[in-house]
């Protein structure tokens, strides 16, 4: 293995020198606890990822260098030991977060280095756990708004909106609630609006998004996109291909929550324009039932949606249908997908 890049002179190098024995002891203790931390990889991490963060902090808050160095060093050891960082890591996005997001928020880091770095790491990890979610998008969004946040609370709240937009629809209700409370520039940046947009327009867009989960924020504010009944998403897949279902699923609603099961496991189905996730449920599937209401689907794929109707040939011979007020979920005997139909 090639030698780790040398740590250049700077605030972190000075801090490491000042507390050399303590840092060495921490590394030794982590090794002693059974963790196999590659020394070279760890040194590379310190010089390439932690050093720029400490430099960014030192520019504005030189008095916080020692505490930040200690906190980030300890956290790094912890994450290396768990293979969250380092050569064995399967989560490249976390390194990306340390490389781009953390140096972009020196003011927040200076307040509580460990909490900010750990929370960012955890958030990237959590988002990465959702199939189809986009942690890099979260990092980019958060890097853009980091300096607009006066305090950690606001930063973390904004993180929930960013997580929703990055493909975690389970955060949608909370994110919409928070979006109404956060300062307009932060919300505008997260939703990709122009920074000149009036606050009233932002609120109108949020109302529109709330009313239709298949409308993205830019579409809501522009109002340009004509809405039409269509299959908006295919959710789930065969377990052998990394999906949730062992057998072709069936669907139903629990209250207003879409559910799906393959007969073995039941799932909550969270979905919207930004993404789709399945979350395990203990709820057993009820016997199949037909739709009673303003939305109906015939066995021949003819969909009647309030006053509108459309022919959807791919849904002929469906096995189960469920409607939650905005989205129709349909399953077929020959498919491991749940077909989601909506005006979008």
């Amino acid at each position: 293995m090639s030698a780790a890049p040398l740590l250049g002179a700077g605030p972190m190098a000075d801090s490491l020198k000042r507390n050399r024995e303590a840092f060495n002891a921490r590394f030794a203790m982590a090794q002693r606890s059974g963790a196999r931390i590659d020394r070279e990889a760890f040194m590379t991490h310190l010089s390439s990822l932690v050093d720029p963060i400490i430099r960014a902090i030192a520019c504005q808050f030189s008095e916080k260098v020692d505490i930040a160095t200690t906190d980030l060093y300890e956290l790094s050891l912890e994450l290396f030991a768990e293979n969250v960082l380092g050569n064995q890591s399967r989560e490249a996005a976390i390194q990306e977060g340390w490389r781009t997001l953390l140096p972009a928020v020196p003011r927040l880091l200076a307040r509580d280095p460990r909490r900010v770095a750990a929370s960012v790491t955890n958030a990237i990890h959590q988002i990465g756990q959702n199939e189809g979610a986009r942690p890099h998008e979260w990092i980019a969004n958060m890097s853009a708004i980091g300096n607009m946040c006066d305090d950690l609370h606001r930063f973390f709240e904004a993180g929930r909106i960013a997580a929703w937009i990055a493909g975690c629809p389970q955060y949608r209700p909370e994110a919409i609630r928070i979006a109404r409370l956060l300062p307009a520039p932060i919300v505008a940046s997260l939703f990709g609006f122009s920074d000149q947009i009036p606050t009233s327009n932002i609120h109108s867009a949020i109302d529109a998004i709330t009313a239709n989960r298949w409308l993205s924020a830019p579409e809501a504010v522009s109002g340009a996109k004509p809405l039409q009944l269509r299959i908006v998403r295919l959710a789930g897949a065969f377990r052998g291909f990394g999906g949730a279902f062992l057998r072709p699923p069936t669907t139903w609603t629990s209250g207003t929550q879409l559910m799906a099961t393959d007969g073995e496991v039941s799932w909550f189905l969270h979905t919207d324009v930004y993404g789709c996730i399945f979350r395990r449920s203990q709820e057993p599937a009820p016997p199949p039932s037909r739709l009673n209401g303003p939305v109906k689907l015939s066995n021949y794929g003819e969909l009647s949606w309030y006053n509108e109707s459309v022919k959807l040939p791919s849904l002929v011979g469906w096995t189960s249908v469920a409607f939650d007020g905005q989205t129709l979920a349909v399953t077929l005997p020959s498919s491991h997908h749940v077909f989601l139909v909506a005006r979008g």
Binding site: A25, S33, E78, A81
Partner: protein, 527 residues
């Protein structure tokens, strides 16, 4: 899968007792995951205090103190036992989560703010353990080091408590004008006295005031000390220090912890620590440090742990075994070992008297004293503490069985000449007090079961009836209770030999009889 590694704290739940229910979705989970964000003062979700206490235990035992002993054993089902050596010593592989007394008991002392004595040879980690407890209380390593009072033959009261301000001594016109520079350790919530048996007797008396009454006094000036956990160390608990420890000071110690020998199989770990410069006390994780509020809250929660009635009755039965000594006096109330002690006469003169009782069965013959109120209160506190530590809100009999030997270690004075110890299989109990006390607790429980006292307890029934109160009790009812008491005593006087538990029961009956008699007199006067 994830947890902290350096300064790693065991992942919750450290003592899983029930299958956790399916976790509900919570948006807060976005920031939960591989990395610990450390303590968050504004976070509503904190680990329960019992979990935090267990995490502290596991951190100390896994990372800080090399104590590979699991002498506090719990079983979760069948466990394997092996017999080793000529003495047929049993090695049990516990099936439940078991603990090292050397780490657990100081931690429980910390939780209930009591006084713990570490005994054992030099260099066995006694002082280090005490220092870790100081750090768990939120003090820095420097503060803890500076606050340790190191016993030595020249230690004066001023060394221990503080000095008068020199300028005040010159200018003051009365004693109350002399200000005292109190030593900082007095105001700390963890107090450490190293080698307390090397402190001169006069200074020990000053220490006693602080330990017993929580205040210190110098030149008529006093300082109140906060509720604290105390850790004392002694290289030899049998009075082998430079000075004999005064009896009252010894009596203030709640629990005794033995520093066991160093297991030679762990020298490699020592080598690692030397080579790598590891000092665990310098890297105590923030998650296991208790704030003063948490400490207070934990104490309240421990006191709220339930001690079930049937278990309390069993404990009463055990405690009742030791004080009674029939030969000590002619009046029942004074038939105690304390009477002999106060008389100054030789204890063996009295125990040699033949009473016709089975001296092997009578547990009272094994001790030279009974249990003080303080000792019983300490038992009650610590059994609640260990139940809390294990995540239970109710004390179990195993909790009592495991704690009693350490609390009574210096409280129950063994009579090594008792016939019980003459039997070859019991000879080792003369030196191994922990196992001895556990053994007599087991024997007491066996006797309790044999007498079916869980089911047949006429004194308990009478006591329960009385506890309902005398308000509204008619003369007829009161008389009926008196008759019951008299009949019971009459039955006992016919056939049964007197043992410790019967002695306490007889006195309880006398007490109840007197209360009903007085009540009857009052009823008659009222008419």
């Amino acid at each position: 899968m994830f947890g902290k590694l350096i300064q790693r704290v065991s992942e919750a739940p450290t003592n899983p007792q029930a299958q956790p229910s399916t976790r509900e979705f919570d948006v807060a989970d976005l920031y939960q995951g591989p990395a610990s964000a450390g303590p968050q003062p504004d976070s509503a979700e904190k680990a329960p205090l019992d979990e935090k206490l267990r995490q502290a235990y596991f951190w100390v035992v896994n990372r800080a103190i090399i104590s590979p002993y699991y002498d506090i054993e719990y079983q979760d089902g069948p466990s394997q036992t092996f017999t080793l050596g000529d003495q047929h010593c049993k090695l049990t592989l516990p099936s439940g989560q078991s603990y090292s007394s050397f780490v657990l008991l100081p931690l429980l002392t910390f939780a209930v703010r009591r006084k713990c004595l570490f005994v054992g040879g030099p260099g066995r980690g006694k002082t280090s353990s005490a220092m870790l407890m100081g750090i768990l209380a939120g003090y820095s390593i420097k503060e803890v080091r500076r606050a340790i009072q190191k016993g030595q033959p020249q230690m004066t009261v001023s060394d221990l408590l503080g000095n008068p301000i020199p300028s005040d001594l010159v200018t003051a016109k009365s004693m109350d004008q002399v200000n005292i520079a109190w030593r900082k350790w007095l105001s700390m919530r963890v107090k450490i006295i190293d080698e307390y048996n090397r402190i001169p007797t006069r200074t020990q008396s000053a220490l006693l005031t602080v330990m017993a009454d929580n205040y210190a006094e110098v030149l008529d000036q006093t300082i109140e000390c906060p509720e604290s956990a105390w850790y004392l160390t002694a290289n030899d608990d049998a009075g082998g220090g430079t000075y004999q420890v005064i009896e009252a000071l010894k009596d203030r110690i709640d629990i005794v912890v033995k520093a066991l020998h160093f297991n030679s199989r762990f020298i490699g770990e020592l080598l690692d620590r030397i080579e790598q410069g590891i000092k665990p006390e310098e890297v105590v994780p923030a998650q296991i440090i208790f704030t003063p509020d948490e400490w207070d809250e934990m104490h309240k929660l421990i006191l709220a742990v339930n001690l079930p009635g049937p278990l309390l009755r069993r404990l009463e039965f055990f405690v009742s075994q030791f004080e009674f000594c029939e030969a000590a006096a002619s009046q029942l109330e004074y038939q105690t070992k304390d009477t002999i002690k106060l008389s100054g006469l030789d204890f063996t003169q009295f125990t040699a008297t033949e009473t016709g009782k089975d001296k092997l069965k009578d547990l009272g013959t094994q001790t030279r004293n009974g249990l003080s109120v303080r000792a019983v209160m300490t038992v009650l506190t610590f059994v609640k503490a260990i139940a809390f530590f294990r995540g239970s809100r109710e004390v179990s009999i195993e909790d009592v069985r495991q704690i009693i030997p350490f609390v009574l270690h210096d409280k129950l004075i063994q009579d090594p000449d008792a016939p019980f110890f003459e039997k070859p299989e019991n000879a080792a109990f003369r030196s191994d007090r922990v196992s001895w006390i556990r053994k007599i607790f087991d024997l007491a429980c066996a006797e309790f079961d044999r007498l079916e006292m869980d089911r047949i307890d006429p004194v308990g029934d009478l006591s329960d009836q009385f506890d309902k109160g005398l308000d509204g009790v008619s003369e007829k009812q009161a008389r009926a209770e008196l008759v019951k008491i008299e009949r019971l005593l009459s039955d006992w006087s016919k056939s049964r030999k007197m043992y410790g538990h019967l002695y306490d029961d007889a006195l309880k009956l006398k007490y109840l009889h007197q209360r009903y008699t007085n009540y009857l007199k009052w009823l008659r006067w009222k008419r």
